[in-house]
Symmetry: C2
Subunit: 311 residues, 2 copies
């Protein structure tokens, strides 16, 4: 059984760690958002690829949702003394990933090959694919002006009110090698409980991805990142509201209904089910809060069942 997942950052990483306990890691392909990638002090940082990699390698810091467990900040502290900005917190071990990645990219390796190399070194057997080998930066159009994504997300802590996002050049940019094949050939395509606008949205915007998903709609299943009108982490609910979407599991389902046959929503949101069913989507109720390794695993099993891969 082949399973392909569309993934953002920490929520996706946690779900994937549950999935890897239910499905052979070799049979999992994660297509990861790179819309928030950026250059930091000359180094290429891919926050979502990194948190997924660290989580699957058992090295993630669960307290922060970013970085390496037990990391130190000696380099960043001295960079700060030297007058460099320190609002993006890069630890000493984390830094090694960015240095190695930047060296390999500068030698002409595409990001997908670099990512595969990092996975091999970390002993991660899942296939991690960047959504594209080319840059598709997410731009944030806020009430106060346009921002780069990390300016908005980390430096300004998601405080600006967002009017729109642009996934720059997405429609003209090819997905990374293997992305469309992984969607077409999967027994189940899972849309992780990530932010639909800034994590999944960029992936969907890359040329051909949404069309490929529509073609296999019956095998696409999502998990709502919104539970009772709240998100476990991040600005999902605020952003849905700011961009005119309903800040609920039903609002998320509506964003996906053209390519998603089934969605798993939290059982607390049972009253939303009829409205989601009316969008033509199978609606499954389950506990979706991933507050333990067991909970992650049970959610993964429930999602696989919703996709028709388990009885």
């Amino acid at each position: 059984m082949k399973v392909t997942a569309l993934a953002g950052g920490v929520g996706a990483a946690r779900f994937l760690s549950g999935l890897a306990a239910e499905v052979r890691a070799e049979d999992i392909t994660a297509i990861v958002n790179t819309g928030d990638d950026f250059r930091w002090m000359g180094l290429q940082i891919c926050p979502d690829l990194d948190i997924v990699l660290y989580t699957l390698a058992g090295q993630a810091n669960p307290a922060t949702g970013w970085g390496v467990l037990g990391d130190t900040f000696a380099c960043l502290d001295r960079l700060s003394l030297l007058g460099m900005p320190d609002w993006f917190r890069v630890g000493d071990r984390d830094l090694a990933t960015h240095i190695a990645r930047t060296v390999w990219l500068s030698q002409g390796e595409p990001l997908s090959a670099v990512t595969s190399r990092l996975c091999a070194r970390e002993g991660v057997a899942c296939t991690l694919l960047p959504m594209s080998d080319d840059a598709v930066p997410t731009l944030v159009h806020s009430a106060g002006g346009d921002l780069t994504f990390q300016d908005y997300f980390v430096r300004l802590q998601c405080q600006p009110v967002v009017k729109a996002f642009t996934y720059l050049r997405a429609a003209e940019t090819a997905p990374a090698p293997g992305v469309l094949e992984a969607i077409e050939g999967a027994d189940a395509v899972i849309v992780c409980p990530s932010n639909p606008l800034i994590s999944i949205g960029p992936i969907l915007a890359v040329a051909g991805v949404r069309e490929a998903l529509r073609a296999v709609r019956g095998r696409v299943v999502g998990i709502s990142p919104v539970i009772e009108g709240r998100a476990v982490k991040g600005p999902t609910v605020d952003l849905l509201r700011q961009l005119g979407h309903e800040p609920s599991a039903a609002g998320v389902a509506k964003l996906y209904s053209d390519f998603m046959g089934s969605i798993v929503i939290d059982e607390a949101d049972w009253s939303l089910a009829p409205r989601i069913v009316s969008l033509g989507m199978e609606t499954h109720l389950a506990p979706t809060l991933m507050d333990s390794a067991d909970a992650r695993r049970r959610l993964a099993a429930r999602v696989l069942a919703a996709a028709g891969c388990r009885t």
Copy 2:
């Protein structure tokens, strides 16, 4: 009183720390070798500028002769796990210097401005000048083939037998702004007890430097890095021998005699004095081993006296 010094790495750094105890730091300009600068994992490293900077800032690791005191190696250890070479030991704090320097260089700042900025941040009041803002890499022609400098010096631990050095494009490369003026306007120009072939040699090779020194020969004073046929640190004696020079204070003096009016040699080498005097150089005997802060300071005072700046 203005003092200008030509400086290599650790020997020069130690001498300069003694000099800074005798002369106002604001009146000291050090022209530092950059022939061993190189790119390491995409970052610009200037080993001699760094050790001089760290030493004057009171941050150097005296046990190693490179790096920052108390530094950690979390990043390098993980780079090694990722398959990157780890023979050049860059600590986490040290790394911050290289990252900041590389960022500023990439923004178009010349190395001299970057160095000045680092000095200001570290509270170093001496003026540190790279010998040039442009790259003048020292190439090592060994019996087994040509090597980059750090390959020879660090990776191969100076084991290859050297046939010649090339200071690439030195004769066509301008010194950094202020270098010639610092030589012309100084009351004393001190050639630090550094390796004459790989530390001082590259500085002398930069366009106009040797000529500028010749023009003020009476004010140029050197310190022999060789004591009783041995060097305190590094391959000085082996290299002198391999390149056909006498491996002694007299051999060093001969390399400098065209532009150096006086030299301070160790009192243990008293028997060499007549031969050095015969080169037209004032020869001063002093304890030159810098095995304490006091010894550094006394040597600096002795050198200033030899240059006629003290009675």
